[in-house]
């Protein structure tokens, strides 16, 4: 298969050095065998076709629902012959509420953990703890959901929710019967799921801050904590923001664990203790029984809405990460 240099001898009118130069240039320019070029282009083309196919096929399968109700699909949904209406707006609100609960719970804890692992903990402790959290990040969401449903839910119903109801001033958030499965439980389960993501990405961002910044702050008389607060965290801000946004994308798009613990009630939740539904849980619970036609098309419409929301969030996160990388590249 290998060719020898002899096949590539330059035309004789060139001087030897020019000949070598041209030969090298030709080698650089030549993709090196048509088969290899075909291989690369095939990979890229198939990938591009899949990405486009994903978008096109989902849009095509949901066109009936969007054609039926237009943009009002986004809040009122579509008529369904067997049940009633798929209230898209309620699912969107449910998705946003559970994600917000998850973010509120997970971000302070996650960033605090990352700060401890990256800046404050001794090396012998930080290493194993980081590995442990990275490994736990691989736990499948169905296992988290099972644990949320069978272990966490009774604990919430018996202890956590009655306790929250007693807190004065928060009645607006926590009222109604304490079932267990609720928006609050779904948000908590999501928080458990996104925590390792936030910790891992924020830790990477914190570790990326130049040591000179830490030393400069220390030389100005900052205490260890002040170094973290005034030099390290501001330096890693973009990275931490990107971590939060990517984790948010994961929380928005999670379906199976949420469907197991949210209680699946297609109504506007009046409290965090009330059962509800998210876009993801609504898709899981209704797609299987949906009749072909408008019914199924409406649920694929929910997928499109979910896809649009997560894509928006993820593109934002990626752009943020990219900006940080570019800024670092410019400095280096």
């Amino acid at each position: 298969m290998s060719t020898t240099l002899l096949e590539e001898v330059p035309p004789p009118r060139l001087t030897p050095i020019e000949g070598v130069k041209e030969g090298l240039q030709r080698r650089w320019a030549r993709p090196g065998g048509r088969a290899y070029a075909v291989l690369r282009w095939t990979g890229a083309t198939v990938f591009a076709v899949i990405v486009l196919g994903l978008v096109v096929s989902l849009l095509a399968s949901s066109s009936q629902a969007f054609g039926h109700s237009g943009l009002s699909f986004l809040w009122s949904g579509t008529y369904n012959a067997t049940k009633d209406i798929y209230p898209t707006g309620i699912f969107i609100i449910g998705t946003l509420i559970t994600t917000a609960v998850a973010i509120i719970l997970a971000v302070p804890i996650g960033v605090g953990t990352a700060a401890f692992l990256s800046e404050l903990a001794p090396k012998w402790l930080a290493g194993p703890l980081s590995v442990l959290i990275d490994l736990i990040a691989a736990v499948p969401s169905i296992v988290v959901g099972l644990w949320g449903l069978l272990v966490l839910s009774p604990v919430f119903a018996r202890h956590v929710e009655p306790f929250l109801k007693k807190i004065p001033g928060l009645e607006w958030f926590f009222h109604g019967p304490a079932y267990g499965p609720s928006m609050l439980l779904a948000g908590t389960v999501l928080a458990v799921m996104i925590l390792p993501t936030i910790v891992a990405l924020s830790r990477t961002a914190l570790q990326g801050v130049a040591n000179e910044d830490r030393e400069a702050a220390r030389a100005l008389g900052a205490t260890r904590w002040q170094v973290v607060r005034t030099a390290v965290v501001p330096g890693a801000r973009t990275g931490i923001e990107a971590a939060v946004i990517l984790a948010m994308g994961r929380a928005l798009g999670e379906t199976i664990a949420v469907a197991m613990v949210i209680g699946n009630n297609n109504a506007l939740p009046h409290s965090l203790l009330a059962p509800g539904a998210t876009l993801g849980s609504a898709i899981i619970n209704n797609f299987g029984e949906a009749n072909p036609g408008l019914d199924r098309s409406s649920i694929i419409g929910l997928v499109v809405v979910l896809l649009a929301i997560t894509a928006l969030v993820n593109v934002g996160g990626q752009l943020l990460l990219r900006r940080r990388l570019r800024a670092e590249g410019a400095v280096a």
Partner: protein, 317 residues
């Protein structure tokens, strides 16, 4: 924070004795306020660090509790016949999850066969080519990584399962396709990163020897990047093995020992979902056992991936 340089006086004193006194007083003032400030800053620091430790404890507690509880419940459910028998009808004791294990292995195997070659080829494209097209593909891969997995399941349903589609009914292959789409962006980005760690000098040395570019890629780039490629692919597999949402409307689930990928199949995650959501202790027992098997599988894959990449780092150093 007031900037009084000379306490009690304005302007610069004329005689040097007063100046020395003023400087001394100023020094004392600075020393005192520094001591006070340091005490306060140290206290704030202690409290903040204490809060960080609390955060670590809070973040570890549910994660560790989850793994420990699944293990304790799962080990109890586990037995040889649990792993080697197919499920019994509801109400009849015994039975196992062999159909789910076999189904998961076949589905994942087919997904790997689809995703790894395409992903590696696409990564080669990204490594070889600069410019807008490569940038767009890279961006698409990054965004696709964040697409909810249920969307991939519905996509596979629309293309392979639904009426008028390529297969037209539920099948293991449709689930493999959904998982392959899930794995693809991970494989692409991890493989590209691994290939970029091969020094440019080695490419150039290979090309300068007059070796065909495809040969350089095969024996220098792919070989040099092999540990990274293995790690990336294993992590992609670990992610795909645990997925449920892409399988619900493609594979459907089956309690029979199905090995034909064109027919509905069982899968570990589907077994957990269908048994775990039932109110019967026997079904929940099966769910915990299956969850433990899945957990062990996923953690083993992650650990192997980590060991391979650690070895890679050691070699590089």
């Amino acid at each position: 924070m007031s900037a009084t340089v000379f306490p009690g006086g304005a302007g610069i004193p004329s005689d040097s004795g007063a100046l020395a006194d003023a400087i001394g007083a100023r020094r004392e003032l600075v020393r005192q306020s520094a001591r006070r400030s340091l005490g306060r800053r140290r206290l704030v620091g202690r409290i903040a660090i204490g809060l960080c430790v609390v955060a670590v404890a809070i973040s570890l507690a549910p994660l560790v509790a989850l793994v420990a509880y699944t293990t304790s419940r799962g080990v109890k459910a586990l037995s040889w016949s649990f792993l080697t028998h197919i499920p019994t009808p509801p109400g009849i004791p015994g039975g196992g999850i062999s159909s789910a294990i076999v189904g998961s292995l076949i589905i994942i195997g087919l997904a790997v066969v689809m995703a790894v070659p395409i992903g590696t080829m696409c990564a080669l494209f990204l490594v070889e080519r600069r410019g807008r097209l490569a940038g767009a593909l890279r961006f698409a891969a990054d965004v696709l990584t964040g697409v909810p997995s249920i969307a991939l399941g519905i996509f596979a349903y629309a293309v392979l399962v639904g009426p008028g589609s390529l297969i037209g009914h539920f099948s293991g292959l449709a689930g493999s396709f959904a998982l392959a789409v899930l794995m693809l962006p991970i494989v692409v980005r991890a493989s590209e990163a691994a290939m970029r760690t091969v020094p440019r000098d080695l490419w150039e040395a290979g090309l300068a020897l007059g070796v065909r570019r495809s040969r350089v890629v095969r024996s220098v780039v792919l070989r040099g990047a092999l540990p990274g490629l293995v790690t990336g692919n294993l992590l992609a597999v670990a992610r795909a093995v645990g997925e449920t949402a892409p399988l619900l409307f493609t594979v459907l689930g089956s309690t029979l020992l199905a090995t034909n990928p064109l027919q509905p199949m069982g899968a570990l995650s589907l077994t957990i979902y269908s048994n775990g959501t039932q109110p019967y202790p026997a079904a929940q027992e099966i769910a915990w056992g299956t969850a433990f098997v899945l957990l062990v599988l996923v953690l083993a894959l992650s650990v192997v991936a980590r060991v391979v990449s650690a070895r890679l780092n050691r070699q590089a150093r």
